[in-house]
């Protein structure tokens, strides 16, 4: 077999890598002309390269009347031959590489390629599967990356606006180095360690891991800020502001276990049993 287009052999015929389709200078120049002239008529063709369909659902959500992408002339078309923008979703499975390339070649030059979703940007959750190339930029040159799993309709509209040069990119890469003698701040320093563990465990038991952590954080912030006299009013003010019966219940429980700990008793039996 002669060499396949866009495929580079690493070891013999067994291990291969993909190389993105090259772009010639004229196309790049044409692309900037396209961006100037495109204004409010951007036709989008969606290429599904083996995602979970979550991204497709959000793309269609972005074209519904609520987000109404057609306000900006963004229209989803049925053929790559009509497209100005190609939206690649999915982690590019081996089987979908050829169809994706065909869609790419079928779209008239100059075209803008958008990599959509975590899968499109870098393979996302599927990045290390044996059957994927892991990202759109492995097969075609990409102009804009829209991260998210899936990106929300608002993120989609923002991403397309960036692709069309209407809005500017906000995110900046960063790189920091540890400074001499830098220390992590200790949180809730007034509360004994054992008590913190009990509060956090109880909150996570009741509200699930992530929300439990957040609730325990809020609870301990209140404890740290208040004195024995003000703690009740502070908790009440917080709960009144949030106005959530579930939160009230959890706070009651947290209050109970921390009081029990303060009084030197161990956790109530019912809290123990489910640990």
């Amino acid at each position: 077999m002669s060499e396949m287009k866009g495929i580079r052999e690493i070891v013999g015929k067994d291990h291969t890598a993909t190389v993105p389709v090259p772009q010639d200078e004229n196309t790049i120049k044409l692309k900037s002309v396209l961006l100037e002239d495109i204004q409010r008529s951007a036709y989008v063709y969606r290429v599904d390269c083996g995602g979970c369909n979550g991204c497709e659902i959000e793309i269609f959500a972005a074209t519904t009347p609520v987000f109404d992408a057609e306000r900006f002339g963004i229209k989803v078309v049925a053929s790559p031959r009509h497209a100005d923008i190609l939206l690649f979703t999915g982690a590019v499975t081996r089987a979908m590489r050829m169809p994706a390339l065909r869609a790419y070649e079928a779209a008239p030059d100059p075209k803008i390629v958008v990599s959509y979703g975590a899968c499109g940007c870098d393979g996302g959750i599927f990045h290390d599967l044996y059957c994927v190339w892991g990202g759109t930029d492995k097969i075609v040159p990409v102009d804009v990356y829209i991260p998210g799993c899936p990106p929300t309709p608002a993120a989609t509209i923002y991403g397309l606006a960036v692709a069309l040069g209407i809005l500017d990119q906000k995110l900046k890469g960063s790189s920091v180095k540890e400074e001499e003698g830098e220390k992590a701040t200790l949180k809730h320093t007034g509360i004994p360690l054992e008590m913190k563990v009990i509060i956090e465990r109880e909150a996570r038991r009741l509200a699930g891991y992530r929300h439990g952590g957040l609730i325990a954080d809020d609870f301990m912030n209140i404890l740290v800020e208040s004195t024995t006299e003000t703690v009740d009013t502070n908790i009440k003010a917080y709960l009144d502001e949030k106005d959530d019966p579930r939160l009230r219940e959890i706070f009651d429980n947290l209050y109970r276990v921390s009081l029990a700990e303060l009084c030197g008793r161990s956790q109530p039996a019912d809290a123990r049993a489910e640990d």
């Binding site: 940007c121 929300t152 995110l171 890469g173 920091v176 701040t185």
Partner: protein, 189 residues
């Protein structure tokens, strides 16, 4: 016809104003993980929890460094990193405008130094993690004398600690633990 116009005016405008006006996102919206390198102790809990391997950690003993990296390209905004972070250094924000034209802007990294064992000089943990452990112990209210002893302990690598404890007769003899268990049970009865 008139009826139609009437119902249209009644229905109002359902189109969201975004991007011309900021979008109201819900309280529990999970957007870009916001990272605060100052509070990070390079413990790698988040990199183990991350289902998409968007967070990675590389330890280079010869360069005395540990590098933390977040790739927004792979992140699925699940919040696992926030759940497990012991210091709250990483928190999901409401930022969703993440599209970039330059892929390099999707990456964030931070470099940390390592702590060396006071006995054998091998690097065994990030310096900030060791300091954090000590700070926690101090905060838990142990005595000055114990602090000095614990300080030695946290700055020694697990290997050397094991060797040291083998030399300590009390630690090798298991009867101590057995007795404790018995005592506790008697107390409870």
């Amino acid at each position: 016809m008139f009826k139609l116009f009437k119902s249209i005016t009644k229905a109002g405008d359902s189109i969201v104003k975004y991007p011309f006006a900021p979008l109201d996102v819900s309280d529990d919206f999970r957007g870009k993980p916001e990272y605060n390198a100052k509070d990070c102790i390079a413990c790698a809990a988040c990199t183990r929890a991350c289902p998409a391997n968007a967070l990675i950690m590389e330890t280079k003993a010869d360069e005395n460094s540990r590098r933390w990296e977040l790739s927004m390209a792979r992140c699925i905004f699940c919040g696992r990193c926030e759940e497990v972070c012991p210091t709250g250094a990483i928190k999901l924000s409401k930022e969703f405008e993440l599209a970039v034209t330059n892929k390099a802007d999707l990456y964030e990294d931070a470099t940390f130094t390592l702590a060396h064992c006071r006995e054998c000089e091998t690097p065994f943990a990030p310096r900030k993690a060791v300091d954090y452990a000590m700070d926690l112990l101090v905060q838990s209210g142990i005595s000055e004398e114990q602090q000095a002893k614990r300080h030695e302990q946290v700055e020694t690598c697990p290997e050397c600690l094991r060797k040291q404890s083998m030399l300590d007769y009390d630690n090798v003899f298991h009867g101590k633990h057995l007795n404790n268990v018995h005592l506790k049970q008697e107390e409870r009865v």
